[in-house]
């Protein structure tokens, strides 16, 4: 189906009595397959088509979203009048060169070309493999693919068409014995590529066995430990513990937060470097232009332990007088863009795994992720699996742990960073009711001293 023409969109957003107007249309087709235990629970297709207009007048924003792409001029006028109702100061947006671009997805293996029969055959085989492991009582498999086309135009002359395909999978196994129940899971994802879904045999095997092993595993005693995180979990830590605090919408109108997050502040040791950027290619947080038409960048957040940057929308960059980073993102047409992370990672260091665990007398090795959340100052994140470290060696499996801490002390407590950078692409980030937004996060193995570990 054709989205609307450039002329139609430009007509809707130009010549209005506003400081800035933009329109975004979004056409997404998605497939979803869910298994629970032996049963395929759900299979379905969704077509989501809609649009929105956003306007800025005197520093106030108006926003109108809709499904029917008709009367666009009227909708733009509605957004302008809302914005005028709110605005009481001067509008500030960091300037951007108008862009006219069309960015098709560069697709490696296209999920739309894989038949439903083939998808089901693959998922059946993983589900059967997990259920055949002795002790596994149930499973949960979720597969989805979404093909999304977004068209953007603004009152400054930008017109951008972008396309992407997200392929996301989650495999979980539950093992149960005498009322005790344990779960293991893995979440995976890829941008513009189905191929990983064809090679999940080992993952399915690992998840099923891990769930059963956890039944025999003791709880890790709650307390404060040196903790070693694998690249996946360290990536989640980087996203939760630091990434959210680098989102400028938390900072730009809060004088005290500006003091806390002042550029030049020492957050970590010399070896700590943290980066965010949609310009890092071929990851789930990658794109060419953000939802304000700003070109993607790669932004240094922490360089040699010092806070050197943060991620911005046009408004936050303009108000703080800092460079644009291309981080304004909306999950779909129902929402205005807000400041979001893209691909966020800790750059690799030079420690070997031996270096990292060798001198830990008693500690915790935590791997894989279950989830994470932050309140800025404090964060928690959950490991999918954990082992004790005893006398410099990986020892017994323990039940999944939850780690928590204070950002301002924890980043400083990272005292070793490995060489094995890897990305977690199975996550979706939530903020302001917009979830799950495709992001990736990554790291090498890291060690954190004095981390609070909860027992479940």
């Amino acid at each position: 189906m054709e989205l609307l023409s450039r002329a139609e969109l430009e007509k809707a957003v130009t010549g209005l009595d506003a400081d800035y107007v933009e329109i975004r249309l979004d056409d997404t087709e998605s497939n979803r397959i869910v298994y629970r235990g032996k049963e395929l629970e759900e299979i379905g297709r969704a077509r989501s088509f809609g649009g929105c207009v956003r306007a800025l007048v005197n520093g106030g924003w108006g926003f109108a979203s809709f499904n029917e792409p008709v009367r666009l001029r009227e909708r733009a006028e509605q957004a302008v009048s809302q914005a005028r109702h709110v605005g009481k100061e001067k509008s500030t947006l960091a300037p951007v060169e108008p862009v006219v671009a069309s960015v098709p997805a560069i697709v490696l293996q296209d999920p739309r070309k894989i038949t439903l029969a083939r998808k089901k055959e693959l998922l059946d085989s993983y589900n059967d493999a997990m259920l055949s492991v002795e002790g596994v009582t149930s499973t949960n498999l979720v597969y989805s693919d979404a093909h999304k086309r977004v068209t953007f135009a603004n009152s400054e002359g930008s017109f951008i068409e972008q396309e992407r395909i997200d392929v996301v999978s989650r495999l979980a196994a539950t093992a149960r014995r005498n009322g005790d129940m344990q779960q293991a899971s893995v979440s995976l994802g890829a941008l513009n590529d189905f191929s990983y879904v064809e090679t999940l045999d080992e993952v399915a095997h690992m998840v099923a066995h891990r769930a059963v092993e956890l039944l025999n595993a003791p709880y890790c005693e709650a307390g404060v430990y040196p903790v070693v995180l694998d690249p996946v979990l360290a990536g989640v830590f980087c996203h939760e513990a630091f990434g959210h605090l680098s989102e400028s919408d938390h900072v730009y109108e809060n004088e005290r937060m500006k003091e806390v997050m002042v550029l030049g502040r020492q957050f970590g040791q010399k070896h700590l470097n943290i980066v965010d950027g949609a310009a890092v290619p071929d990851l789930r947080g990658s794109y060419a232009y953000d939802d304000e038409g700003v070109p993607a960048q790669k932004t240094d957040l922490i360089r040699e332990g010092v806070l050197v940057g943060r991620i911005h929308s046009r408004e936050t960059a303009g108000k703080m007088g800092e460079p644009l980073t291309g981080n304004a993102r909306a999950i779909d047409y129902r929402f205005p863009p807000i400041v979001r992370m893209t691909n966020t990672y800790i750059e690799p260091g030079d420690a070997t795994f031996e270096d990292i665990i060798g001198d830990i007398k008693l500690g915790v090795y935590a791997r894989n992720w279950y989830g994470g959340t932050t309140s800025m100052e404090m964060f928690t994140f959950s490991a999918g699996e954990a082992f004790m470290i005893r006398d410099g060696k990986i020892a017994e499996l323990v039940r999944p742990v939850k780690l928590t801490g204070n950002l301002f002390t924890t980043l400083e407590n990272i005292d070793a960073i490995g060489t094995d950078l890897d990305f977690n692409q199975g996550g979706g980030c939530g903020k302001g009711g917009q979830m799950p937004l495709p992001v990736s996060n990554g790291s090498a193995h890291i060690r954190i001293q004095d981390c609070v570990v909860g027992e479940r």
Binding site: R36, F66, N67, L116, T174, A222, E253, M257
Partner: protein, 441 residues
């Protein structure tokens, strides 16, 4: 009366070879008013409309949804394409039936002017800043209205309107790198929200947090406020009553019907028949009339919740618990949850504790082995109790436990019930002992 387009889709699906079909239609309007940094920031108007089609063809369920207007053929084609791979249908779509007598729509909510909503937000922010002038506030006032319609090929036709007004205020107080987050809100179907109650709750949160208190790693008594009960306990508890998980052997309560698993003071109901409560409705998202279902009565496990497919699989009656968004098939969900009050006051609970914790909000409570009933999280907002008094805010502290064990070791249930988030009516609950781990201050 259902819309003509729904009839059209049903007819097209039957012509395409479905033996049964069901169309679900949602039309909604939402007007959010947002305050940031203590002042009005953004006005939104969201309109949405869409159709979802479920078919049963050769005994299997297919599904598709679309928000593209007029896309009848595409919708039918997509649903029929998925059906050969779908699960076997264990139910028939319900014929016309008598809906429960429940009101969920108030015209006055629709007539509420945006300026009145702006005034509500400003009032909440002003009230919070009178208690603490240094605090920076956000407020979200939101008005919604929708029409939910269902029609199926067995003659079932169902339609109702609902409305909602919600008001939330959040405050952030930063001192150095010490950050305090407070907030509360409410929602009803009517045009009025009890702003005074929200202001009182947030004021108390600020007063209790005036200074930070020391904690230590130990097993301690923990008082969950009404908000704390909802934040930390309700999710892992009610998951165990999901009929699908019960049927699949995943619920730890699977074989517990009729058994006294909890303290006798614990009674929990799911009730979709409460007038003017968000979540209440005359029938569920498959057309089954709403009802009040006892989950726990006097500590005894009474019922699990079922949608049509799960009820068919488990050979039981559906409980009117089907819930769906436009793009997903019905799943089992809660409507309004009520937890019965006890006979202790919150003040008495606190007064009886030598050393313990009060939990308002746990961060990350929903991560982990929720199906098994585990909960744990960093205390985002909570207080230390010493010698029967709240002495300050706790930080860098985790509380962890298993909800099924915790609710069998209840020390007291409060008599001050209140609605949290508009959909859960909960009293404070004191659990005798839970694992508390502290990272020091």
């Amino acid at each position: 009366m259902v819309e003509a387009v729904m009839e059209q889709v049903l007819n097209a699906a039957m012509r395409a070879g479905a033996s049964q079909a069901e169309v679900f239609r949602v039309v909604s309007e939402e007007t959010p008013v947002k305050f940031e940094a203590n002042r009005l920031k953004e006005l939104n108007a969201r309109q949405s409309a869409g159709l979802a089609l479920r078919v049963i063809a050769n005994g299997r369920i297919g599904f598709a949804s679309s928000t593209r207007p007029g896309d009848v053929d595409g919708l039918v084609l997509a649903a029929m394409e998925t059906a050969p791979f779908g699960p076997e249908a264990k139910f028939d779509f319900p014929a016309r039936s008598e809906p429960a007598d429940v009101a969920a729509f108030d015209w006055a909510t629709q007539q509420l002017a945006v300026d009145d909503m702006i005034a509500m937000g400003q009032r909440l922010i002003d009230a919070v800043r009178r208690v603490e002038p240094e605090i920076q506030c956000e407020a979200h006032i939101r008005r919604t209205a929708g029409t939910i319609s269902l029609a199926n090929s067995n003659g079932g036709e169902f339609s109702y309107r609902d409305s909602m007004l919600s008001a939330w205020v959040y405050g952030t107080l930063i001192r150095g790198t010490d950050m305090l987050f407070v907030g509360d809100g409410d929602a009803t179907c009517r045009a009025e929200v009890d702003l005074e109650r929200i202001e009182r709750e947030v004021a108390a949160q600020i007063e209790h947090s005036r200074r930070n208190a020391e904690t230590r790693t130990a097993d301690l008594p923990v008082v969950f406020t009404s908000m704390g009960v909802v934040e930390a306990l309700v999710g892992p508890l009610t998951t165990a009553f999901n009929g699908r998980l019960v049927h699949q052997g995943q619920s730890p309560l699977g074989d517990s019907l009729g058994q006294a698993k909890y303290d006798p003071r614990i009674s929990v109901h799911d009730d979709a028949t409460l007038d003017m409560r968000p979540g209440a409705r005359p029938f569920d998202d498959e057309g089954i009339p709403s009802r009040r279902t006892a989950l726990i009565e006097g500590g005894v496990v009474r019922n699990f919740l079922y949608d049509l497919q799960t009820a068919g699989l488990a050979h039981v009656e559906p409980t009117g618990s089907a819930q769906r968004s436009l793009t997903t098939q019905p799943t089992i969900g809660l409507t309004c949850l009520t937890i019965a009050p006890g006979d202790s006051s919150f003040a008495e609970m606190v007064a009886g504790i030598k050393e313990g914790i009060v939990v308002e909000e746990l961060m990350g409570a929903g991560q982990g082995n929720v199906i098994g009933g585990d909960f744990s999280g960093n205390v985002l907002l909570g207080y230390k109790i010493e010698n029967g008094e709240i002495v300050g805010r706790v930080k860098n502290t985790m509380v962890a436990g298993n909800v099924h064990q915790a609710l069998s070791r209840v020390g007291a249930v409060g008599r001050e019930q209140r609605w949290v988030g508009g959909t859960v009516l909960a009293p404070p609950v004191m659990v005798e002992r839970l694992s508390v781990s502290s990272g020091g201050s």
